[in-house]
Symmetry: C2
Subunit: 470 residues, 2 copies
Amino acid sequence: MQASRLAELVVAGMGDGGRTKALASSLRSLIVDGRLLDGDRLPAERVLAEALQMSRSTVTAAYDQLRVEGILVGRQGAGTFVSVPAIEGGRPDEDPRLGEAAHFDLSVAVLPAPSLLAAAVSAAAESIVVHLASIGLQPAGLPELRTLVASEYSRRGLPTTPDQILITSGALHGWDLLLRAFARPGAPVVTEQPTYPGVIDAALAHRVRLRPLPVDADGWHPEELDPARTPVLAHVTFDGQNPTGLWADRSTRNRVLSTFDSSTLVAVDETIIDFPSSPTVGAETSPLAHNSTVVILGSASKSFWAGLRVGWLRGPASMIRRLAALRAGQDLAPPILNQLVVAELLRRREEILPDRRDAIAGRRRALLDAIEQYCPNWTVVPPAGGLAAWIDLGGRSSTQLAIEAREHGIRVTPGTRFSQTGTHDGFLRLPYVLPIEHLEESVRRLAAASEKLPSARPRHHPNAATAWSA
Amino acid sequence: MQASRLAELVVAGMGDGGRTKALASSLRSLIVDGRLLDGDRLPAERVLAEALQMSRSTVTAAYDQLRVEGILVGRQGAGTFVSVPAIEGGRPDEDPRLGEAAHFDLSVAVLPAPSLLAAAVSAAAESIVVHLASIGLQPAGLPELRTLVASEYSRRGLPTTPDQILITSGALHGWDLLLRAFARPGAPVVTEQPTYPGVIDAALAHRVRLRPLPVDADGWHPEELDPARTPVLAHVTFDGQNPTGLWADRSTRNRVLSTFDSSTLVAVDETIIDFPSSPTVGAETSPLAHNSTVVILGSASKSFWAGLRVGWLRGPASMIRRLAALRAGQDLAPPILNQLVVAELLRRREEILPDRRDAIAGRRRALLDAIEQYCPNWTVVPPAGGLAAWIDLGGRSSTQLAIEAREHGIRVTPGTRFSQTGTHDGFLRLPYVLPIEHLEESVRRLAAASEKLPSARPRHHPNAATAWSA
């Protein structure tokens, strides 16, 4: 990481303690956040000291502190590197630091598979036989699945043909392909702020220039986008916005979309569309007007199971062909078997989704009740949909809370991970996908962890923090 | 595409006919090659004329010709665009231009599934049940499969632990992740020349500066790499080099690898390792010396089935963790079900591979015999392994042959697709994966197509063409 960029992030995350302690704490937060990855080389002490306008001895002392903790290692002649004890793929059940204690993962807003999934897999195991005589490579996806996905859009009032559908490895993969196809390094790209971290990570991997579309308790604020800089791509989530749980009404959709002219390709991510908090929430919205500069990203990950890795992208047929061709340099084609499973699940969606929505509704209520009971200083606007709540911690730092929560066997993602710029440290996303008793126990433990934090820490991003609770 | 880059490619592909006809033909070849994609905007006629140092009327006439053929379209005020009739994902069975005629696809070197695959899918449908209670996201892959893959390397003499294995969506996806992690735009990256087109496409998508490692009938020529420019990444295939079918002996491997110092990460692609032309070919080589700057790419696509989309990458554990974290901005994790299928196939590999090798050996022999019989002017060095032969067409253009072959119901990939720079037009890769009678019929038709081409077309890349047949 460049020294100047790191200095920016570090300053944003520093508290008010002594310089050394503050710097060590800020660096530790960046590592916990995942913005400094295992194996990343840190700038030389002298270089970071200059970028931070601090004394070199302060930086040395902070590095030393983190070396003692074992999360930095020095390699002779090569520099100082981040060294995170192995957390295979970031799942807490493999995190040795959590030891034997009971632990709960509130960092992911994803459900286990519905019980019908096993039957769908068995059905796919039979229907794959006809495909085994082929080479198994269909870059745009299986015609059978493309037809089913297209007809679902048509049913919702957006006439769609199968050649307008590209099957992907999840909605995020669709966003990644759009970035690959249409965004050169340095190109302006808009994402909501806050938004799902993967959306930001994908954009950063393509080295684009990110611009935030602010989202707060009052909704979307496209008027704050710089009108002089037309983005080539934008990513928005109108249905169960992640992490805020907002659901845009029709006029909001039109207002946001009309901000962009035809030189911006707008990706509307519908990953969470099957989870409005009540039937009336989803009913007031309608499919997007047919517009060649709007593409829709869809996914089986929330509705059915993330372990399938199947999503799709709806766009003009010529764009679909282009994106399918791009895969010749990436993953060639989606796997056949998983597509057959998802086809079966789509045919049986009405046997699956009502139960799933009911379970979620109960958990949503339980989480909000537990917060009211145990965390009276937290503020949360009840989510209109989705699988998570976005909580104002009342002046405490979610990064510090995330670190402290680990000691209590709880894994949460700090609010800063949902921001392009390290803001929103005063917010925490809490998914409500765990069983009710686990959610209640998790909130109790988070309340205990929160008690250990210095209270009323001055806010470094007052605008971001107050806008939501306003 | 930039006018200057297009001009370069066009000049490389132009024959000796009239300027207009030659320009139209060269542009047509670029479209057939896939280097100009459906929807690509061509430079304005004036701009291309300048770049080519041709008169504007010549360019206009060539564009007009291609508009008449329907592969270019003008859009009022927007420019001239490539418009390829829909070939969904490039599979000939969906290509309307091939009409009702019998057709054979010799553009892919991939086999259908072995008969045991259906049983492996059924086994996976049972073993997935224990995973359905989880969220299904393990970014580095299922521990069960990582353990099996690691133990196979250990068995071959390269001690490997499961945390050194990342499960990917095929070997190409592993290469794409390496580019994403380690190659900035403009960074020097080496690939063999010729090589598998996907390897080039992936690198170009990351906007790196490609440098060729020449490979010809005499083998690998690392001495031709510019020693002043240290690449950050290199991609090599020692086992069944694609497309040449070469198999490197131990000293060749050492010679190539020792060209690179520790600042180059070398990806050794073993996708084809299970297909030596005889047991002695594979036996004389050994696993790579343990070296932290060598990573190995593996795949289930050739050994078992491409429709599974499962591959893997072996590297240092710290790199594996880093690459797994990168997926948070791309595909999150590999799908569970396919990994279970591949685990089952790996356990039963000795029931599958001998039959597959025998079938391939028969087809290899049949293809070479048919070429000798029907195409006496073609030269081919019998491949030491792999699934394709690399043929010197004796002065004819493989691009022109690819176009003419379509009229005969045969799909082949021109030699230029295997080159970074549009060279190797005098070569054709012919896979031997189709049944023997289809291969024989295909070669008969290719011979007929070849007869219709102007013979003894002057070579524009004499070095590339003669080096192979030397």
